[in-house]
């Protein structure tokens, strides 16, 4: 769980980000222009800033200069190389171009939080302990061996917790390829493995006709 400030002048997109990040367990604050964002940074400590570049009052590029050590992800419709370079030069941790897909954004948020150690590297679910750093899982204190793909699947499900992921999407996110023929069976097999090995039957829900959801 991390404290995230979302700075985006498009109200709908701001709300959307807020809703999704809250769903996966983060706490969000919203700012709709640059001045408001600077005010928030001063009064509150955040683990991550999600910044639009083109903002009324103060631009995203100016806000990052005052963000100090807080990690920053730019979310913007500006896709030219010059702007991306500028973003990274100013110390952005990632740069996401609109339109983006939510699982991608959530994955990148998680990646930045882990890299900057802003989020716990351990997670406890009932008797299960997951160590994201060493990529190990323990059930009742005993280590359970997972294949790299199984762990990646678990990680993806937890990153997108409470959101349904279709088999095709999971293939894309975990196996990095697009749906072809009957390969979605692979997903089902791995899900079965996770449920059995880690006793996660009550958490990994099948959503009929859609896919899977990790409920927490």
């Amino acid at each position: 769980m991390a404290r995230i400030l979302i700075v985006e002048d498009e109200i709908l997109i701001n709300e959307l980000l807020c809703k999704n990040l809250t769903l996966v367990g983060h706490k969000c604050a919203c700012a709709f222009d640059g001045a408001e964002a600077l005010e928030c940074i001063k009064t509150e400590a955040f683990d991550l800033l999600i910044l639009d570049v083109m903002l009324p009052e103060v631009s995203g590029f100016d806000i990052i200069k005052q963000a100090g050590s807080v990690p920053v992800i730019f979310v913007t419709a500006k896709n030219d190389l010059k702007d991306r370079m500028k973003g990274f030069t100013l110390g952005a941790d990632d740069y996401i171009v609109k339109p983006f897909e939510m699982p991608e954004l959530l994955a990148r948020v998680q990646a930045v939080l882990r890299r900057t150690k802003r989020d716990e590297s351990f997670m406890r679910i009932d008797d299960l302990l997951i160590d994201f750093e060493s990529r190990k899982t323990f059930l009742d204190g005993k280590e359970i061996e997972l294949t790299p793909k199984e762990f990646a699947l678990l990680d993806t499900l937890i990153t997108n917790r409470n959101i349904v992921l279709s088999r095709e999407r999971l293939l894309e996110l975990v196996w990095s390829y697009y749906y072809e023929g009957d390969t979605t069976r692979t997903v089902d097999v791995h899900i079965q493995q996770l449920r059995q090995k880690l006793n996660l039957k009550s958490h990994i829900k099948s959503v009929y006709g859609v896919g899977y959801r990790f409920e927490l």
Partner: protein
């Protein structure tokens, strides 16, 4: 191998010049030689006459012992002077004295022969003397004429070669100098074709090359301007495209995001409705953008159809259409009758006024009034839309007709503005040759004018 124009011209001029010069030299040489021959012949004739007279005098002088003896002494005397004589008796041709070789021709009495025998040239003159009793033939070796001819030829050849070489060299440099401006012009064109559009030719002088250089510079100037315009156009188009991409991406992100949200998350019915509503409103925004773009494209593709129409009726229609929206926004909307007719595309001008009215209502921020009308000042007819809303700064005014420019980004979007309205207005005005002008005072209001120039009948 292809020769350059310079080479061709140089060679042509040189050949023509050398041809005429050398022909002249040759003719002069021939004339001189002929003169020499003629004068040699004259000398021979006069010598013949002189010898004849002297002989006749001596012949008449009876103291001379024998005519044959006289002839011998004459022959000997003149033989030493390189003039050979032959005396014959006229009536039977008996040779009385001769030191002329028999191989030489003997012309009839009263004639002269110029002949060449064994590499030597002779002039032979023959005539009767002593009242026709005898015939005297004088032969003179004029081989010196050949030598003269030879030295003459040598001299003229020398002159000819020297002059030709000198001429070739001088001509080369003179022509090089004359071609200099052309060469420079060529270098300039090379510079320009190499990308340096600021290169200019030297315009000094008043010959054809200078004129060409001037024309060339004018052309280069025009091309430069055209390039600048094209570059500017391309930049504006790119800017427009970037903005368009931005404007499309934002609603697309919302639509996709909320669709994902509804699809993937278990939601309360109220939340679900809200998300659906967001998707619909953002789709509408995309639709409005595409409509404005289509309107814009329509004008560009189809041009305009002008007709005379009554401005009052058009303004009245616009007012009626906005009446409901204006009252919802707490804005009063008035139309001032003016009784003015306009020549233009009525549909497009109505679209223009509608866009201006929409902006005016928006600028009122929930209270105020909007006035539509037209005025005629001299030859200018102005439609105007006036509001007492928030007004704009000079900085904002300078940008408002750029596509996707918004004075207040967040607010305009919430109000349903696409950022394309005034860009469209400008396009319509431009298509009519009309000017779109704004007068605005911050927090006092804005007047938008569309100024048409009345056309002469």
């Amino acid at each position: 191998m292809k020769k350059s124009f310079f080479e061709r011209l140089y060679i042509t001029v040189l050949v023509i010049f050398l041809l005429f010069f050398n022909s002249g030299v040759l003719l002069t040489a021939m004339y001189t030689y002929n003169n020499a021959v003629t004068s040699a012949e004259d000398i021979c004739l006069s010598e013949h006459r002189y010898i004849s007279q002297a002989f006749e005098t001596d012949y008449a002088d009876k103291s001379v012992t024998g005519v044959q003896l006289l002839m011998v002494s004459y022959g000997t005397f003149y033989g030493e002077k390189n003039i050979k004589l032959r005396f014959t008796r006229s009536y039977n041709g008996t040779v009385l004295y001769s030191d002329i070789a028999d191989t030489l021709p003997a012309p009839e009495a009263g004639n002269m022969v110029n002949t060449r025998i064994d590499g030597k040239q002779y002039i032979i003159v023959s005539d009767t003397i002593c009242r026709g009793s005898y015939t005297l033939t004088c032969a003179k070796d004029v081989s010196y004429l050949d030598e003269e001819l030879f030295s003459l030829a040598a001299a003229f050849a020398g002159i000819s070669v020297t002059a030709s070489v000198l001429l070739a060299v001088i001509l080369y440099f003179v022509m090089k100098k004359l071609f200099d401006p052309l060469e420079k012009l060529r270098k300039t064109t090379k510079l320009i074709s190499g990308g340096d559009l600021n290169a200019r030719a030297n315009e000094k002088g008043d010959d054809e090359f200078a004129a060409l250089a001037k024309d060339f510079n004018v052309m280069a100037e025009r091309i430069g301007e055209q390039m600048d315009t094209l570059k500017l156009n391309a930049e504006q188009k790119q800017q427009m495209l970037d903005n368009l991409a931005h404007e499309m991406r934002t609603p697309l992100t919302s639509i996709h995001g909320y669709a994902e949200y509804v699809y993937g998350v278990e939601l309360e019915p109220a939340d679900r409705m809200q998300a659906m509503n967001n998707i619909m409103s953002e789709s509408m925004r995309l639709k409005r953008i595409s409509e404005k773009l289509l309107d814009s494209a329509f004008i560009r593709e189809n041009g305009i159809e002008k007709a005379v129409f009554n401005a009052d009726k058009m303004l009245e229609r616009t007012r009626t259409r906005f009446l409901l929206k204006a009252s919802e926004c707490g804005v009063r909307i008035d139309q001032i009758p003016c009784n003015i007719t306009l020549n233009g595309d009525e549909t497009l001008i109505e679209l223009l006024v509608s866009n201006l009215t929409e902006n005016a209502i928006r600028a009122c921020r929930g209270k105020g009034c909007v006035e539509l009308g037209a005025v005629k000042e001299g030859k200018i007819i102005s439609l105007y839309v006036k509001d007492n809303g928030i007004g704009m700064t000079k900085e904002q005014l300078s940008h408002i007709t750029e596509p996707f420019y918004r004075t207040d980004k967040g607010r305009a979007r919430r109000d349903g503005g696409t950022g394309l309205g005034l860009a469209l207005c400008k396009r319509i005005a431009d298509a009519h040759g009309a000017a779109l002008e704004f007068e605005s005072v911050l927090s006092a209001g804005t007047i938008a004018y569309v100024r048409f120039e009345e056309e002469k009948e």
